[in-house]
C-alpha cells in the first residue's frame, strides 16, 4: 500500500523524448504519434526573428496525472477505470467497452485507444512491469538524461518525493478543476 505520485523538475527538460521511448519499450506501447502514454508539450515560440520570447518556449513533460478525484473514474460506466491499492489510476481492459467517456472526461488528454485490445490505455506508473518486479522507479524516470522525474510514495514522509515537495515550490496542472493530480511540477 502506497500513494504514488511524481514530481517533475520540468526546467531540466530538453525535449529529447527519451522518456517516451523508454515508456514504449518497457510497456509494449504501440507506435504512432497519438499512441503514447507520456509526452512533452511544446509551444511554438512567440515573436519575430531575431526578437523571440525565450520565456514563451517551454518544454512541459506530461502524462496521466493520477488524480485523487479522477473524472475518468467517475464517468466510467463499467468500472473499468479504478484506483489500485497504490492510488494509481488503472484500466481493466476486460471491463472496458470503449465508450470513450473517460477520454472526454480527462482534462489532461492522457488517454488513447490501444488498437490491439480496442480498449482505452494510459500511463500505469509501470505498475504491471517495473513495480511488479519490485523496482522502485518508472521507465521514464530511470532513463531521463537530465533527471526531470522523481517517482515515489507520497505517504512516506522520508521518500525523495515527499522531501522534494516539502522543500520546493510546486504547482499542479489545472488545479482549479479539483481533480487533485498527483503529478507535481517543481519551480
Amino acid at each position: 500500500m502506497a500513494r504514488y505520485g511524481m514530481a517533475l523538475d520540468y526546467k531540466n527538460c530538453i525535449n529529447c523524448k527519451a522518456c517516451e521511448v523508454a515508456c514504449k519499450e518497457e510497456n509494449g506501447v504501440l507506435l504512432g504519434a497519438d499512441k503514447h502514454r507520456i509526452w512533452v508539450g511544446v509551444k511554438e515560440i512567440e515573436g519575430e526573428w531575431p526578437l523571440l520570447d525565450i520565456a514563451s518556449s517551454t518544454f512541459m513533460p506530461s502524462q496521466c496525472q493520477h488524480c485523487e478525484d479522477a473524472p475518468c473514474e467517475e464517468v466510467c460506466p463499467t468500472h473499468a477505470t479504478y484506483y489500485d491499492e497504490n492510488g494509481v489510476v488503472r484500466v481493466d481492459s476486460n471491463k472496458c467497452i470503449l465508450c470513450s467517456y473517460c477520454m472526454n472526461a480527462c482534462p489532461y488528454d492522457a488517454r488513447y485507444v490501444d488498437d490491439r485490445t480496442m480498449t482505452v490505455d494510459k500511463c500505469t506508473f509501470c505498475s504491471d512491469t517495473r513495480l511488479a518486479r519490485g523496482e522502485t522507479t518508472t521507465a521514464c524516470q530511470n532513463t531521463c538524461p537530465t533527471k526531470v522525474r522523481t517517482f515515489g510514495d507520497l505517504d512516506d514522509p522520508n521518500s525523495e518525493i515527499s522531501v522534494l515537495l516539502r522543500t520546493r515550490d510546486h504547482f499542479s496542472l489545472k488545479s482549479h478543476l479539483g481533480t487533485n493530480p498527483k503529478l507535481f511540477y517543481l519551480t
Binding site: 526546467k11 531540466n12 530538453i14 525535449n15 529529447c16 523524448k17 527519451a18 517516451e20 521511448v21 523508454a22 514504449k24 519499450e25 518497457e26 510497456n27 509494449g28 506501447v29 504501440l30 507506435l31 504512432g32 504519434a33 511554438e44 515560440i45 515573436g47 519575430e48 526573428w49 531575431p50 523571440l52 525565450i54 518556449s57 517551454t58 518544454f59 488498437d115 490491439r116 485490445t117 480496442m118 504491471d128 512491469t129 517495473r130 511488479a132 518486479r133 522502485t136 522507479t137 521507465a139 524516470q141 530511470n142 532513463t143 531521463c144 538524461p145 537530465t146 533527471k147 522525474r149 522523481t150 517517482f151 515515489g152 525523495e160
Partner: protein, 797 residues
C-alpha cells in the same frame, strides 16, 4: 482478445502515410515476403515493442552504439529476446541515463531491413541487385572477384603489390581500431579516411594546439557560460548534456546561447543571440578585445602560462577588434558584446563552451584557438568549475606485428592542406584528387565499414563517382545504406547489442574503464567485426603474400636469408595473427594485467571499473549517484606544466596565421533571393544510421526545411508543402516548416535523411539528404569539410 500487429503491418502503415509517391520496389534479397517470414524466426520479437514481463531476466551490461558517446546500459533479455535497455548506473560518463536513441537501440538490432547474410552484386553498380551467398563465397569474391568485378589478388598483381591501391574508411565506434589494424597495419595501405575530416577535426586540433587538451567541463561549479555553435540539448554529448541543463534557467549557470537558429539549447538559455553563420571568430576576437582594452584578464595566470601572450595582446589591440567592428560582421550588437565580456570577466567560473560538432566555416581552427585563449584569459583552466584536463586513465595499446611493404606508396591527399593528417587524411581531398586524376598511382578498391559517405561527405554526386570508379567495393555494415548499394561484396555485421567489444578507457574528471558485452548472439548469419577481420585476414593472407613475393625485392632478400616460413610468421605477413585471441580473451588479459584479477571481475559483472569503485560508488537519491567523492576527482592535474599557446609559430611556416586573425573573405553574405543552408542534429537521430529506426521515426517522421515564416508567406509556402532546395552541386526535395526560429536569409535541415537505398524501407525517399546539396569546400589546416558555406535556391514544387 488481442490482435497481433506485426512489425511488417505496422511498417506498411507508416510508409503509406509518409513516403510520397515512392514505390517500394525491392530486389530479391530485400524482398518483403522474406521480411514477413521474419516474425516466425526464433530470437526475433513478434511485435515492434515488447512489454517487459515479471519473469526473471538476464541483465547484460552493454555500451550503446547508437551514436559516438558510448553510454553504458544494461540489456534486459527475456527468453533470448532483448525487451528493454536500461541505463547502467556505474558509468560516470553517462550519468545513469539513456537518451531516446539509446532506448530505441532494440529497433536497430531487430530492424527487418538488417543485412542478414553475405551478398554479392549481380546487377549494375548502385542498382541494388545482390545475390545471397555463404561467407566462404563472399570472402572468395573479395579475393578472386566474379565475372562482374575484379578481386583483390588481380588488382594487387596488376599494381605490382602497391598496397596503397586499396582505400578504406570506417566511422567512429569500438571496433574501428581493429579495422585499421587489418587494412592499415596488416594489409598495408595508408589510404584511410574516416569521420574525423567530416566532423570535428579543427575543434579537437585547435583546442589541442592551444591548451593541450580538448577539455571536459565541470558544470557543477561553473557559473557563467557562453555556448556558441553547439546545440547540447539536441546534439547530445555525455556528460555535458546531463550536467549543463541541471544548472541553467536561473539555477547557477547563467547561459548565453549564440547560434544562427533558435535551438532547444537556446530555449534553455537566459539569452539567445543569433549570429551570422561563419562569423563566430569575429565575435570571440571582439570579446578578447574588450577584456584586453579594459585590462580584465588574469594577467598573473597568463604571464605564467601564456606563450606569445604579450604579442597576442598587442595583436588584438592593434587590429582594433572592437565590438563595434564585430557588430557589422556578426550581427551581434556591440552593447551585447560589452555586456558579455563584462559578465565573463566578473564570473568566478566562466566557461566558453568548447563545443563539439562538424566544421561549419573555413576559419573553424582559428575560432577554436581564439576560444581557448579567451577561456585562458579568465584563468579558469584545470580547476573546479573550469576546463578539466583530468586524469587520462590508460590501457596499453595492442601490439600488431605489421609487415613492411616495399611497393606500397605514401598517401597523396594533401592538395590545398597546410597540415595533412597522416592517419586519416581528408575525405574530400582524397576523393576529389582521385576524381580529378591527381592521384600519383591508381586507387582501385574501397573497403568501407560502418560508414556511409554517400550521405556523410558533402557533394554526394562526387562520392557516387568515386564508388563507381572502383574495381572493387567491399562494405561491412548492419544496414543496406546508400553506400552499400555500390558494394560488390557486402559482409553483414552483428549490431552492437550482439557483440562483445574491445574494452575502452575514459579519462577526465572521473575516469573509468568500460566493456560492452553481447546481450544476445549475432542474429541471422551476421558475425562480429573481429570475427570478420580474422576470417578475412585468414583468407587473404597467403595469396597476398604470394604477390609480395613476386614484386617485393626486400621480401625476396629476407626469404633468401631466413627462409619463407620464418619471414611469413616473424615479419607479420600472417595477417590473421592479430586475431589469435578472441575479444573476450583479450579484454580479460589486458585488464587483469594492468588492474588485476578483481578489477576484471568487477568490470565483467558491472560493465564498468575504476580504482576504488566499490568504495566510491554510492547511490545518493533515486536519480543521483556519486562516482567519485569530490575530494578524489581530478579537478587539477596540470600545475606548472599548463601552457596556453597564444602565438603558434609552426602554423606560420605553412601560411596559417600564428595568432587568430580575422579575414574579410569570411564575411557572411547571401545573394538576394538565395539562402544560406545550415545543417545540424537532433536528439532523436544520429546521422543516416538511425533514420530507418521505427521508434525514432515515430518521434520525427521526416526532416523538414526550416524557413523563416515571413519569407515563406511571401513565397506562398505553407507547413508541409514540398519544396525544392537547389545548390550548385545538387537538388533535393523536402517538406517545409515555416518558423521564426531562423533568419530570413537562411534555411536549415536536419542531417541524415533522404536515403536512396531501397533496402531501407522507412528511410528510403523520406526527406532530403543534405550531403547532396552541400558544396565540397574544405578548411585550410587539415582539409576538413566545411558544412555551412553553401547558398541555395528554394521554391515550392
Amino acid at each position: 482478445m488481442e490482435v497481433e500487429i506485426s512489425r511488417r503491418k505496422f511498417l506498411q502503415g507508416t510508409v503509406a502515410m509518409t513516403v510520397l509517391g515512392g514505390t517500394l520496389a525491392t530486389t530479391s534479397v530485400f524482398a518483403s515476403e522474406e521480411k514477413e517470414n521474419q516474425k516466425n524466426t526464433p530470437g526475433i520479437p513478434k511485435t515492434v515493442t515488447t512489454k517487459t514481463s515479471t519473469k526473471k531476466a538476464k541483465e547484460v551490461p552493454f555500451l550503446c552504439g547508437m551514436c559516438v558517446n558510448k553510454c553504458a546500459g544494461v540489456a534486459r533479455v527475456e527468453d533470448g529476446i532483448i525487451t528493454k535497455l536500461n541505463p547502467n548506473p556505474y558509468f560516470p560518463k553517462s550519468r545513469n541515463m539513456l537518451c531516446p536513441r539509446g532506448n530505441a537501440g532494440i529497433q536497430t538490432t531487430y530492424d527487418p531491413d538488417r543485412l542478414k547474410y553475405p551478398l554479392i552484386r549481380i546487377g549494375k553498380r548502385g542498382e541494388g541487385k545482390f545475390k545471397r551467398v555463404s561467407w566462404e563465397e563472399a570472402y572468395d569474391a573479395i579475393l578472386n572477384g566474379t565475372k562482374d568485378f575484379k578481386g583483390i589478388v588481380q588488382i594487387l598483381d596488376e599494381e605490382k603489390d602497391n598496397r596503397s591501391t586499396i582505400g578504406y574508411c570506417n566511422g567512429e565506434g569500438l571496433s574501428k581500431e581493429g579495422f585499421e589494424d587489418l587494412m592499415g597495419k596488416k594489409i598495408g595501405t595508408p589510404n584511410y579516411v574516416d569521420e574525423v575530416s567530416i566532423c570535428l577535426e579543427t575543434a579537437g586540433g585547435g583546442f589541442f594546439a592551444t591548451l593541450g587538451v580538448y577539455p571536459e567541463i565541470d558544470f557543477e561549479h561553473a557559473d557563467y557560460m557562453i555556448i556558441l555553435g553547439a546545440n547540447r540539448a539536441e546534439a547530445i554529448i555525455t556528460p555535458d548534456t546531463m550536467d549543463m541543463f541541471k544548472h541553467t534557467k536561473g539555477r547557477g549557470l547563467k547561459t548565453v546561447c549564440i547560434d544562427p537558429r533558435f535551438t532547444n539549447t537556446a530555449a534553455k538559455a537566459d539569452k539567445w543571440l543569433p549570429v551570422n553563420p561563419g562569423t563566430d571568430l569575429a565575435y570571440i576576437l571582439a570579446m578578447t578585445y574588450v577584456i584586453f582594452s579594459e585590462n580584465l584578464q588574469n594577467e598573473e595566470f597568463m604571464k605564467k602560462h601564456g606563450v606569445g601572450y604579450e604579442e597576442y595582446k598587442q595583436h588584438i589591440l592593434s587590429k582594433k577588434y572592437t565590438p563595434e567592428w564585430a557588430e557589422k560582421i556578426t550581427g551581434i550588437k556591440a552593447k551585447d558584446i560589452y555586456e558579455m565580456a563584462h559578465e565573463f570577466a566578473d564570473a568566478e567560473h566562466p566557461i566558453i563552451y568548447p563545443g563539439r560538432r562538424s566544421i561549419f566555416s573555413p576559419n573553424d581552427y582559428q575560432l577554436r584557438r581564439a576560444m581557448g585563449i579567451l577561456q585562458a584569459l579568465s584563468g579558469n583552466l584545470d580547476k573546479k568549475g573550469g576546463y578539466i584536463y583530468g586524469n587520462p586513465i590508460q590501457l596499453p595499446a595492442e601490439y600488431v606485428n605489421s609487415p613492411i611493404y616495399a611497393q606500397a606508396k605514401e598517401r597523396f591527399d594533401t592538395e590545398g592542406i597546410a597540415f595533412p593528417t597522416i592517419k586519416s587524411g581528408s575525405w574530400i581531398v582524397f576523393r576529389n584528387m582521385i576524381l580529378e586524376g591527381k592521384n600519383p598511382y591508381p586507387v582501385r578498391a574501397m573497403f568501407i565499414r560502418k560508414h556511409n559517405p554517400m550521405m556523410g561527405v558533402p557533394n554526394s554526386a562526387k562520392t557516387r563517382k568515386l564508388l563507381e570508379k572502383m574495381d572493387l567495393n567491399v562494405v561491412i555494415d548492419i544496414l543496406p545504406s546508400d553506400t552499400a548499394m555500390f558494394a560488390d561484396v557486402i559482409l553483414p555485421e552483428a549490431s552492437y547489442l550482439e557483440r562483445t567489444s574491445p574494452v575502452k578507457a575514459y579519462g577526465f574528471l572521473e575516469p573509468s574503464i568500460v566493456q560492452r558485452k553481447a546481450a544476445i548472439k549475432p542474429l541471422y548469419e551476421t558475425k562480429t567485426p573481429e570475427v570478420i577481420y580474422k576470417e578475412l585476414a585468414e583468407k587473404l593472407s597467403k595469396p597476398l603474400f604470394e604477390i609480395s613475393k613476386k614484386y617485393d625485392k626486400d621480401l625476396q632478400e629476407e626469404i633468401a636469408k631466413r627462409g619463407e616460413e620464418k619471414v611469413y610468421k616473424e615479419d607479420g605477413y600472417d595477417l590473421a595473427d592479430a586475431w589469435d585471441k578472441s575479444v573476450e580473451e583479450k579484454n580479460k588479459e589486458l585488464v587483469e594485467k594492468v588492474y588485476g584479477k578483481e578489477a576484471w571481475e568487477i568490470l565483467d559483472k558491472n560493465g564498468v571499473y575504476y580504482p576504488h569503485m566499490e568504495e566510491y560508488h554510492k547511490q545518493l537519491s533515486p536519480n543521483d549517484y556519486q562516482y567519485y567523492p569530490k575530494s578524489k576527482r581530478f579537478y587539477s592535474t596540470k600545475g606548472d606544466s599548463l601552457r596556453v599557446i597564444c602565438k603558434y609559430d609552426r602554423l606560420a611556416t605553412k601560411g596559417i596565421d600564428a595568432m587568430p586573425t580575422w579575414h574579410d573573405e569570411w564575411k557572411f553574405s547571401v545573394p538576394k533571393g538565395k539562402f544560406r543552408l545550415i545543417t545540424g542534429r537532433h536528439a532523436q537521430f544520429t546521422q543516416s544510421g538511425t533514420t530507418n529506426n521505427a521508434m525514432l521515426r515515430d518521434l520525427i517522421p521526416t526532416n523538414y526545411l526550416w524557413i523563416n515564416k515571413r519569407v515563406a508567406k511571401e513565397k506562398g509556402i505553407k507547413f508541409g508543402d514540398m519544396v525544392e532546395v537547389k545548390s550548385e552541386v545538387g537538388t533535393v526535395h523536402l517538406k517545409a516548416y515555416p518558423t521564426e526560429k531562423i533568419a530570413p536569409n537562411q534555411i536549415f535541415m536536419l542531417h541524415g535523411f533522404g536515403s536512396e537505398s531501397k533496402g531501407l524501407e522507412l528511410a528510403y525517399g523520406n526527406g532530403a539528404n543534405d550531403a547532396a546539396v552541400i558544396k565540397d569546400d574544405i578548411e585550410p589546416v587539415y582539409g576538413a569539410a566545411v558544412m555551412h558555406s553553401t547558398n541555395v535556391e528554394v521554391r515550392r514544387v
